[in-house]
């Protein structure tokens, strides 16, 4: 009996599903038109572009692809927007009175009716898009196969993975639309509700984020919101942002290891969270659907609390921006009031008991002020003081703009190494402590006032913790580079760095003017030969060795083994042997050195004669600056130019090393680093503004200077050098040894 009833119930559901499909035939056709016009057209144009590119013919000589790309993009957008139309159509009996009886009187439970309508709508929405996608794949595969192309085919895996984000986003869009309709009982409100729900959720989260930032929530910035699942997984708009992040993660638009590929590592967390959000929205829609009554049709809002929640969110978004800005709060209130009362007139269909609208507005505005005040009082709801525990962290991603690279062209470093995670937490805690208890520290975390002339410059420190729970905690700070010392040591000593750096090492060899690879994987797969670009430790002279793939692999593996074998002692006291591309090779890197030497690299002796020879070259006009508060020559700052046997000294600027600070691998920090160099330029311009620009002119013996340069090093950890020297913008240190003191004295005093 039960089985029979169950079968019968299923058939009712199936019947409803089938009849809804039949009713929506026109929508299905329209959606097919958009879907078949969108992705397939775009695919066709891309394939043609690749085809003509391969033939070295500009596609613009054959036809104008822009118009077709625009048509395709509009069609794709339209097919996505069909989700809203389909939801409105499938649940129109919730806001069209004449359809209520016909739908509610049928022998269906409300659950069967709701889910049959929901799923049939979803089917009509996604089927044409799926078919369009399959056709697009066909166009790409067949098209590229016909002329031997592979640019798009190679990316099909990534396209498929990113396509899943789009599908989830579309399901969310459709589900939110259904939820929005369930709240309402009239056409205008149903449409408004769909738009409002899809806009207000991400807007409110973004505005709350901004309110937190502007309430002095230390460490949180605007960009970090896109790393938050709270933002990206809770709305279709957020899904779009996540999709964009995924696209720019280096798989499609790779130009090196830039940016934070949040979407790649957070992919499954995002999927799970977004699926949970969809499930919650669907469950809410169903429960409200069950709760609402047939007679609710024609009411503007079936659940008034929803309406007030939406317009209060709108007030929050507008007003919080004005409050954050600190100016024109009254103007913000007026704008909100106009919108509020306009909506109230529309919703109430008149002015009945209109004074209650005023009370509602006052409560909404009051609540916004309260939220902003609480946000400020709690330092962004405690977010600015939050440092996760090591046990809760799965991995950590760190980056620094001033540290343009971590020594191997790696600007963003990701690891699950416990040592590095501990150092990141330690640094993070110190940063927070310095900010909130600055009175306990002798020097500032960073200085915005260049008149202090700390040579130890500022850098940005970005950290994203990937939590075991699947969430992310991202923060960004500006700190002085010295604070990075311990963290950088931990990074360099980690196996993850050895792996990343050796892969970057391989990339540097593989990417030549003939061939360029977008990723390490591509380089490893397709490279057949490469060039080893080697520079001496001061980057004054270089050499280039042509190598085969086997040599490249041998060099990569040797470099990785050397890095993995590197001890803390070797790192702290090591001297740079040479640079290969962006990678430093220490004297202690026996295997790497051995392979390089076997390949024919013949390093110059960085002795006095060599350097003198280098600087005597008439074509070479090095820009050398020496900074030191060394006791023998306090406050030396020199701008030297090559004048035959001497370097001329042009200034006695008030630069000095901060006595409280140790140094951390300046050479790597500032090599080719615009920001670091820019900082110096800023300091220079201060002097240009009239304060002691040129005080004296002295000449230094070029041989003495050359001898001094021979003792420079790129790596300094946990100690203060006696001088910092920049050569053509690259920064080196002179360690505090008796020999170096003598050399410096000789340069200064002759």
């Amino acid at each position: 009996m039960t089985a029979a009833t169950s079968t019968k119930n299923k058939s009712y559901f199936g019947r409803r599903f089938a009849t809804r499909l039949a009713e929506s035939k026109k929508l299905l056709i329209v959606n097919f038109v958009f879907s078949l016009l969108g992705l397939p057209l775009l695919s066709l144009v891309f394939v043609l572009m690749e085809y003509y590119d391969k033939k070295n013919v500009s596609i613009y000589e054959v036809f104008q692809p822009d118009a077709y790309l625009a048509i395709g993009a509009v069609a794709v957008f339209a097919s996505f927007a069909m989700g809203l139309i389909i939801a409105l159509f499938h649940f129109r009996y919730l806001y069209q009175k004449q359809l209520v009886d016909m739908n509610y009187s049928l022998p269906l439970s409300s659950g069967q009716r709701f889910f049959a309508d929901y799923l049939s709508g979803l089917f009509i929405y996604l089927l044409p898009i799926a078919v369009g996608t399959v056709i697009s794949y066909g166009i790409v595969l067949i098209g590229e196969a016909s002329f031997g192309g592979s640019a798009i085919t190679d990316m099909l895996g990534h396209i498929t993975v990113s396509g899943i984000i789009v599908v989830v986003g579309l399901i969310m869009l459709y589900t939110f639309a259904v939820l929005g309709i369930v709240f309402c009982g009239s056409t205008f409100e149903a449409i408004f509700s769909i738009v409002a729900l899809n806009v207000m959720i991400p807007a409110t989260i973004a505005c709350l984020w901004i309110a937190m930032i502007y309430s002095s929530a230390f460490g949180i910035d605007e960009s970090s919101i896109i790393k938050s699942l709270f933002f990206t997984a809770t709305s279709p708009f957020g899904a779009g942002v996540f999709f964009g992040d995924y696209l720019s993660n280096g798989e499609f638009i790779v130009m090196g290891n830039y940016g934070a590929p949040m979407a790649t590592w957070n992919y499954f967390s995002w999927l799970i969270t977004a699926a949970a959000v969809i499930f919650i929205a669907l469950l809410a829609a169903f429960l409200l659907y069950k709760k609402r009554k047939a007679e609710d049709v024609s009411k503007p809002y079936v659940f008034k609390s929803y309406y007030y929640a939406i317009i209060t969110m709108a007030v929050f978004c507008i007003l919080s921006l004005f409050i954050s800005d600190g100016d024109n709060i009254i103007a913000g209130i007026i704008i909100c009031a106009v919108g509020w009362f306009l909506m109230e007139v529309i919703t109430r269909r008149g002015f009945k008991k209109f004074w209650t609208a005023g009370v509602g507005f006052a409560l909404a505005v009051g609540s916004v002020f309260v939220i902003c005040a609480v946000c400020k009082a709690t330092d962004g709801f405690g977010a600015s003081r939050k440092v996760p525990s090591a046990s809760s962290i799965s991995s950590v991603e760190i980056g620094s703009y001033s540290y343009a690279s971590f020594g191997s062209g790696i600007s963003v470093f990701t690891t699950d190494d416990p040592e590095v995670i501990d150092q990141v937490i330690k640094l993070h805690e110190e940063i927070i402590d310095r900010h909130f208890h600055s009175e306990n520290y002798e020097y500032e975390q960073f200085s915005e006032d260049s008149s202090e002339n700390y040579f130890v410059s500022d850098c940005s420190f970005n950290v994203s913790y990937r939590m075991k729970s699947g969430s992310t905690l991202s923060r960004r700070y500006t700190i002085n580079t010295a604070m990075m010392t311990d963290l950088m040591k931990a990074v360099y000593l980690s196996d993850d760095y050895a792996k990343d750096a050796s892969e970057r090492f391989f990339m540097n060899m593989a990417n030549t003017s003939d061939e360029w690879f977008r990723s390490y994987e591509d380089a490893e797969k397709y490279a057949t030969k490469g060039i080893v670009g080697i520079e001496d430790k001061l980057m004054l002279t270089g050499d280039a060795l042509n190598v085969k793939k086997d040599d490249m692999i041998q060099l990569r593996d040797a470099y990785r083994r050397d890095l993995e074998a590197m001890t803390a002692e070797e790192l702290s006291s090591g001297e740079v042997f040479c640079y290969v591309g962006d990678n430093w090779v220490l004297d202690s890197f026996k295997e790497t050195k051995s392979v390089l030497l076997s390949m024919g690299y013949s390093p110059d002796d960085m002795d006095e004669a060599y350097l003198k020879n280098v600087f005597s070259n008439g074509n070479y006009d090095p820009s050398i600056y020496i900074y030191s508060d060394f006791e023998l020559c306090s406050h030396i700052s020199s701008n030297m130019s090559d004048t035959g046997n001497f370097f001329s000294y042009y200034g006695d600027e008030d630069w000095h090393l901060d006595k409280e600070k140790t140094m951390s691998q300046f050479g790597f920090a500032y090599r080719n680093d615009y920001y670091g160099y820019g900082y110096y330029e800023d300091g220079q311009s201060n002097y240009n503004n009239g304060v002691m620009f040129i005080n004296s002119r002295t000449e230094y013996d070029k041989a003495d200077v050359a001898q001094l340069l021979g003792h420079l090093t790129s790596l300094v950890f946990d100690e203060r050098p006696i001088a910092v020297v920049t050569i053509n913008g690259s920064i080196y240190c002179l360690k505090d040894t008796p020999e170096n003191s003598a050399l410096l004295e000789k340069v200064v005093n002759g």
């Binding site: 009833t5 004449q98 509610y104 009187s105 022998p107 439970s109 009554k293 007679e295």
Partner: protein, 309 residues
């Protein structure tokens, strides 16, 4: 059997049905009468599971009907709208309902359709109001549910078609014990089709009885009393008949001729007037429409105010 037990239905603060009790036996043709806004359509929507009662129970064969597939599958509801099927052809509409009602009979459908010659493949939007009504009625009958609910059943039908539709209903009732509940302002048709009826006013049931009983329990009395010796007419007022065992709903006279609407059985009514030795005492049966008017007049629902204006 259909039962409404202390059923309350509210629309926000407005009470449409105020704790009504109603029983409709299987196989009856039940007419729902009532003033505008009395709650007739609300009852039909409660019975078809569209509305959920705020209180009380709405039962079909002992099962609560709201959100109950089993109970709802026994009911087919034809409302007073005709616009909801605009996009359908008759064939499509038939297929639409056929899936939901397992007892749907193609044979019945075809037989009824051929009688009224409705086209199968034309969209209902091209149909007249009456044709749409015919279409949904024949589908309702072809679904062969136990209960057929019709709201303003004959609205839009021409006289000939009314007869045909009525005959269809009666045939179905006779053939398979179909229970029909009809709400209509056209009391003549209720009178012709139904055997039982209920009168509603302001969300309450005034009565629910067999139509013949209703008709037999209320009479229009035309009575002429003998004149006084001086030739003047005898003046009686309603109070002269108070506590006489009958319920006088309406009382008026023109000179010596009195027109009285009285509730009570025929013998009792005659017995009330007999002591006055009327010259003429005639009990004229009331139509259902007259009963409707006089019953509601007692409750203050009449046109007298408008006439005075």
């Amino acid at each position: 059997m259909i039962e409404l037990k202390k059923t309350v239905k509210k629309f926000d603060s407005y009470t449409a049905l105020d704790g009504i009790d109603l029983k409709i036996e299987k196989g009856t043709a039940f007419g729902l009468l009532g003033s505008n806004g009395a709650g007739k359509s609300t009852i039909l929507r409660l019975l078809s599971g569209i509305y959920r009662p705020e209180d009380g129970q709405v039962l079909i064969d002992g099962e609560s009907v709201y959100d109950n597939i089993s109970a709802k599958s026994k009911v087919f509801f034809i409302n007073d709208e005709t616009v909801q099927f605009q996009g359908f052809t008759l064939k499509k509409l038939k297929d639409y309902y056929k899936g939901y009602y397992p007892n749907f009979s193609e044979e019945v459908f075809e037989s009824l359709r051929s009688k009224i010659k409705l086209p199968l493949d034309k969209k209902l939007s091209t149909f007249s109001k009456g044709m749409k009504r015919q279409a949904i009625v024949i589908i309702g009958l072809a679904c062969r549910t136990d209960y057929l609910l019709l709201d303003e059943a004959f609205d839009g039908l021409d006289p000939t078609m009314r007869i045909i539709v009525k005959k269809m209903l009666v045939d179905a009732m006779l053939d398979r014990q179909l229970t029909t509940i009809i709400s209509s302002h056209n009391l003549k048709e209720i009178n012709e089709v139904c055997d039982t009826c209920a009168l509603l006013h302001e969300g309450k049931i005034i009565f629910s009885r067999d139509i013949d009983d209703v008709k037999g329990s209320i009479h229009k009395v035309q009575v002429v009393f003998p004149k006084n010796e001086d030739g003047t007419s005898v003046e009686y007022s309603i109070s002269d008949f108070d506590a006489s065992g009958i319920d006088i709903l309406h009382f008026e006279h023109t000179q010596s001729i009195y027109y009285i609407i009285a509730r009570g059985d025929e013998d009792t009514v005659k017995a009330v007037f007999a002591p006055k030795k009327p010259v003429l005492l005639e009990l004229i049966p009331l139509t259902l429409e007259e009963i409707f008017i006089y019953e509601l007049e007692v409750l203050g629902y009449d046109s007298s105010d408008i006439n005075e204006e």
